[in-house]
């Protein structure tokens, strides 16, 4: 079993075997991160471009670190210093960068399918670092990695994803990924933030956090965009906090050893209070660390062999 793809675009079309292979590969890179010298020569001579059309310091830093730990040359390109604002299309931009002889594009873009467009039109590897509300595969991979690390496996776990499911790429990628590895997934949000027919993806829908949390092993809180309250989706942020913020009391409904995850950055006091975010049941920092290892694995599998 290997990994023979040119691109990593989403979790929907990955097989269970491919996912496990990436996670296995990530384990050895995770070990590298514990060494005194956290660097391997795997991608020496390769150039990776981080092409970010949305502000995202965290994901970009995580990719950049992963690339540097693999000894790749790294170029960062974000909206503010791109010519996109002058009317150049995404494809023009990508082709221009390609002309400088690079090996991989890591793309973050607000439009679903943007990385798929590039993957189809250009010959180098494309990694989807988040395309609109569609997918964020490396986030799902690092979440899987973290869950396996703490729980020993994913099979049979009950996992609740709570928050703005409708606009969340993290939710979509995790719904696919967790179910492929045998977890039972629940989603919970006000009905206006649940996308239509989401149950066809295999999940159970809850409007009440109290019901959703019963007996779960993992609670994944999603970041809520404050703008949602001005578009008819929510009456107010205050009401959202009252109904959907994770509290100690609500947490007590989950299994006694239930753990809390969040893709970050956390709106403290909104999705969950600081006390829980920083508490011993929170995996938020583990997720950040594992993110680097998982991204190293993905870069290695796409670029390392040729």
């Amino acid at each position: 079993m290997g990994f023979k793809r040119k691109d990593l675009l989403g979790m929907e079309d990955l097989s269970k075997e491919e996912i496990l292979f990436i996670l296995k590969t990530a384990e050895s890179f995770r070990a590298v991160l514990e060494r005194p010298i956290r660097k391997v020569p795997t991608l020496r001579g390769k150039t990776v471009v981080n092409l970010f059309f949305e502000p995202s310091t965290r994901t970009r830093m995580s990719f950049e670190l992963a690339e540097k730990r693999l000894n790749a040359d790294v170029l960062n390109f974000s909206t503010s210093d791109s010519s996109v604002i002058k009317g150049e299309t995404l494809l023009d931009t990508a082709r221009n960068i390609l002309a400088m002889k690079v090996d991989c594009l890591v793309l973050r873009h607000p439009s679903p399918g943007a990385p798929h467009l590039l993957a189809k039109k250009i010959p180098v590897s494309v990694i989807n670092a988040g395309d609109g509300a569609h997918e964020h595969p490396t986030q799902a991979l690092l979440d899987l990695y973290t869950i396996r690390e703490k729980k020993g496996g994913v099979e049979g776990l009950k996992i609740a994803i709570i928050g703005d499911i409708a606009h969340s790429r993290v939710a979509r990628s995790n719904i696919w990924a967790l179910q492929k590895l045998g977890a039972e997934v629940r989603v919970c949000a006000p009905p206006t933030l649940i996308p239509p027919l989401v149950e066809k993806m295999g999940v159970r829908v809850f409007y009440s956090q109290e019901d959703a949390l019963k007996e779960v092993d993992i609670i994944m809180m999603l970041r809520i965009q404050k703008e949602r309250q001005n578009t008819g989706l929510l009456p107010s942020l205050a009401e959202y906090i009252e109904l959907f913020s994770l509290t100690e009391e609500r947490l007590s409904l989950a299994k006694p050893d239930a753990l809390i995850m969040h893709p970050g950055p956390v709106n403290r006091g909104v999705e969950l209070p600081a006390k829980l975010a920083d508490g011993k049941r929170s995996l938020i920092l583990n997720q950040v660390t594992n993110g680097v290892a998982v991204r190293m694995a993905v870069l290695y599998l796409l670029l390392g062999k040729s």
Binding site: L90, L91, H109, S111, G113, A114, G132, P196, V198, K200
Partner: protein, 425 residues
């Protein structure tokens, strides 16, 4: 000059005629239709084993002139029409500037006369500047020669204005064409709202955006008893609403596009922006309902909604690409493949929806083959397969989801006013 079309299978839905005959065209007119006409002295078209039908009529074409001549012009659009077997096309007024003034109508007629391959009949806006506020000068526009009024691209959201427009056109005896879409519901949607939009994370346009608008339009049509035509139906519930309205005697007519009875929103999974159309591609249950609506005459017309866009505009991420696809050159092939060959419609029924039905709605003396009528004729090979390619398109734009498809129904000759305007080589 006289032209003899020999041994073609003439299908004329206006008279329910289906037989092999000879047709003699003299000058602009059809002079004689008979089982056998002596060939001497005439230019000859051997139509043996071919189908001869009244020249096809497209009552929903975007020609982009004036304003976007880089996408399409009257010249290129009418060449595409001729290649697709259309002899008469109606151009929608959402140009830049919009067709809301007699001078622009005259411009289109002049340009079509000079450079056009087929007949172009302009549709003017319902509202001034297509702004949805005040009525366009409908009486003067009729004098200039428009055949209908439409703010296509937008619904006339102001119910009072729509009511007055419907009342006003009674005097003119011309139809209004409505693009049913409640923007409050469709918002910034880019595809059908449903399971596919959910997994793709693309914003959906619910079917109800069409149905809510359509329901109001039906109510106003009933109230005013004015001729109303509803463009590009896309949902099963729309078909059902129309069916009921027609039974109760409402004077409404409707159309569907070939892409809506051929493709579903599953196609959007490719993120191919040539699947981005408005109204969006819907579900398979809608597609089946549209076919049933065609069969039981709830849907009167097949129209292309030919909407040219440059490759550069379409080669974008899904959210950024414009809506619309070209349709003139693939319509007949899709009708035959998806409706006739599947048994959804007889060839006679299908051709009616491309000829006499739009002619009646537009109150134009077209869409039939008889002695003394204008010689607008389309001759095609029912069986002959052809490959849809960018290179073969006459349209300036190549934005089609059917590139690479093999379609039946190759158009062999298109004749407008006795003149061959397209001939397959």
């Amino acid at each position: 000059m006289s032209l003899l079309i020999k041994k073609g299978r003439l299908i004329d839905p206006a008279t329910n005629y289906d037989a092999v005959v000879d047709i003699l065209v003299d000058g602009e007119m059809i002079k004689k239709i008979a089982p056998k006409i002596n060939r001497s002295g005439h230019e000859l078209i051997d139509a043996a084993n071919k189908v001869v039908v009244p020249g096809l009529i497209d009552m929903h074409t975007h020609l982009r002139q004036p304003g976007r001549e880089d996408e399409e012009t009257i010249q290129s659009g009418t060449r595409a029409a001729a290649k697709g077997g259309f002899t008469t096309i109606c151009c929608m007024p959402n140009t830049d500037p919009p067709i809301d003034d007699p001078s622009l109508v005259e411009f289109i007629y002049r340009e079509a006369e000079r450079r056009g391959s087929v007949e172009v009949l302009p549709i003017a806006t319902i509202s001034k500047d297509r702004a949805g506020k005040d009525l366009s000068p409908m009486g003067r526009l009729k004098k200039a020669g428009v055949v209908a009024f439409s703010d296509d691209g937008d619904w006339v959201a102001d119910s009072h204005l729509m009511r007055r427009a419907l009342e006003y056109v009674k005097m003119l005896n011309l139809p209004l064409i409505s693009h049913c879409e409640d923007r409050g519901l469709s918002q910034d949607g880019v595809m059908n709202e449903g399971y596919t939009s959910t997994i793709l994370g693309l914003q959906g346009m619910p079917k109800e955006a069409e149905e809510v608008a359509l329901f109001r339009d039906l109510a106003l049509c009933k109230m005013t008893e004015s001729p109303l035509h509803l463009a590009h139906l896309s949902t099963a519930e729309s078909v059902e609403l129309i069916r009921k309205a027609k039974v109760s005697g409402v004077r409404v007519t409707t159309e569907v596009t070939p892409h809506h009875f051929t493709l579903t929103d599953r196609e959007v999974k490719s993120f191919d922006t040539n699947t981005k159309v408005n109204p969006p591609l819907r579900g398979s249950e809608d597609l089946e309902a549209l076919k049933e609506g065609l069969k039981d005459a709830t849907i009167d017309v097949i129209a292309t909604d030919h909407a040219p866009h440059l490759v550069e505009e379409k080669e974008k991420e899904y959210n950024a690409a414009p809506f619309g696809i070209v349709g003139l050159e693939t319509a007949l092939g899709l009708v035959i493949k998806e409706l006739v060959q599947t048994g959804a419609l007889t060839l006679m029924e299908a051709i009616a929806k491309l000829t006499i039905n739009p002619a009646r709605i537009l109150r134009i003396n077209r869409g039939l083959v008889k002695e003394g009528a204008k010689a607008n004729l389309t001759i095609f090979d029912l069986e002959k397969k052809w490959l849809v390619t960018e290179e073969e398109f006459f349209s300036k734009s190549k934005n089609s989801p059917f590139l690479g498809w093999e379609l039946p129904g190759k158009v062999e000759w298109t004749i407008v006013g006795g003149k061959v305007v397209y001939q397959d080589d």
